[in-house]
Chain length 233, copies 2
DNA sequence: TCCATGTTGGAACAGCGCTCCAGACATGTC
DNA sequence: GACATGTCTGGAGCGCTGTTCCAACATGGA
């Protein structure tokens, strides 16, 4: 440890897995999913591919590590144990992930890919744990833990991902209105016979507030969960 | 139309956007996400890249078209309007998508990517419509339509995606047990201090039945939705 | 001093999505 | 029949990617 630090301070910072992942996140944040390239990585770190491959197996693992790092940071801000208000705690965790996706738009796609491609990775237990801990505090019988937590996690990731499309827009507030308006208008122009419902909610889409809508969904799922509390009453 | 058919029957079937998308789905089904290559496509269709690019803008559009085609087929089997049992109808739609993902494992990732990357594409309204149509029949006040449908859709896609990892296994039934056992065991070996909840549900993971668990989640969300039915009673 | 071990970075490779373009083909005009 | 037109085809090739390989380096112990 000490040796490595000493040795490398010769010139630049020592090359380490941590520093590689950190740079990967920077590149992803700056230029989106396509921004993470081994070429860009070698340039930024002033090294060659071989050096990177010494610390990381392949690009997939690197993407996984970047995802895990950001998720871990987002979940670390978890509020102090709040035994009396687990619902509030769930909302806080959910908003933490929501904000993380808002800040790192590539995270939405990456999380979805990660969870669907390898649900056994480190990310799944991390999220399940953060959410499930509070689900347990909701007095849900043990048999419903997995179902309840899955429902929450899937809603959180799906809804946050949906909103991540906004985050990719350059001008934020201004463009966001235009963007929502465009999608909403497109939905209103769908075939009335095939898409009556979608046309009907186009207006809700245009006028909705992201966070508010997101939390409303959380509350909906929480309502369904608390109904599990006692088998039938 | 007639001319094109006549002309092309000269030799092979005429090259058309439909036939390209169809072949793309075949390749994806056969070799997974990495199986769809313009090289493989040109070989299978006995043509060159230029011919394909005449009908399709780029690979992204092709993937989107393939996704849309499979989703459309899955949702087309929708049961006849069942005004008395909208909950059953929601379950049917959900299982339709579940089975489609089971049959085309690449669909899980692709759907997630599609929805998070471009929620304004043709796939989103298609799914929203199929699900929302029945949500509307649940007597939910209009203000809750968007929230309720989002919750359902996100749960469906997330949960189905989670299960898609099984579908990628070669031997199905046998390997599935081994696979679940391995993940479950890994979860049980997590740090007891950091992952008490995950460790607690590891057993549920091992013994759960996919479809049963999936439907239980649907019911949970449906319960939350029906609670919206009348503002407070 | 010399070696063993753990790291580095550059050259090179196969494969990718994609562009370009010369030409085949059916068709409408004279 | 001859020709010009616009649609459609397929092959050569470009720039870029992730990845491998390996000669050179730094370092700590004998």
């Amino acid at each position: 440890m000490a040796t490595r630090t000493r040795r490398s301070q010769r010139r630049t910072e020592a090359l380490s897995r941590e520093r590689i992942v950190e740079t990967a996140v920077e590149l992803l944040d700056a230029d989106g999913e396509g921004g993470l390239t081994f070429r860009a990585l070698t340039e930024r770190l002033a090294t060659g591919p071989g050096a990177i491959y010494w610390h990381v197996a392949n690009k997939g693992e690197l993407l996984g590590a970047a995802t895990d790092a950001v998720v871990a940071a987002a979940l670390a801000i978890e509020p102090a144990e709040s035994p009396d208000a687990p619902q509030e705690a769930v909302r806080a965790v959910a908003l933490g992930l929501f904000d993380a996706i808002d800040e790192h738009p590539w995270l939405a796609t990456q999380l979805a890919v990660q969870l669907s491609r390898s649900p056994w990775g480190p990310v799944t237990p991390r999220i399940f744990e953060s959410v499930g801990r509070h689900v347990r505090a909701l007095d849900v019988p043990e048999a419903g833990w997995f179902t309840a937590t899955s429902a929450l996690v899937h809603y959180i990731l799906g809804a946050a991902g949906q909103n991540a499309a906004n985050a990719r827009l350059p001008g934020r507030d201004v463009d966001r209105a235009e963007f929502l308006d465009a999608v909403s208008t497109a939905w209103e122009e769908l075939d009335p016979d095939d898409y009556p419902f979608t046309r009907a909610i186009a207006d809700q889409l245009r006028e909705h507030d992201d966070r508010e809508q997101f939390l409303a969904g959380i509350d909906l799922v929480l309502t369904g969960i608390t109904a599990l509390r006692r088998p039938s009453g």
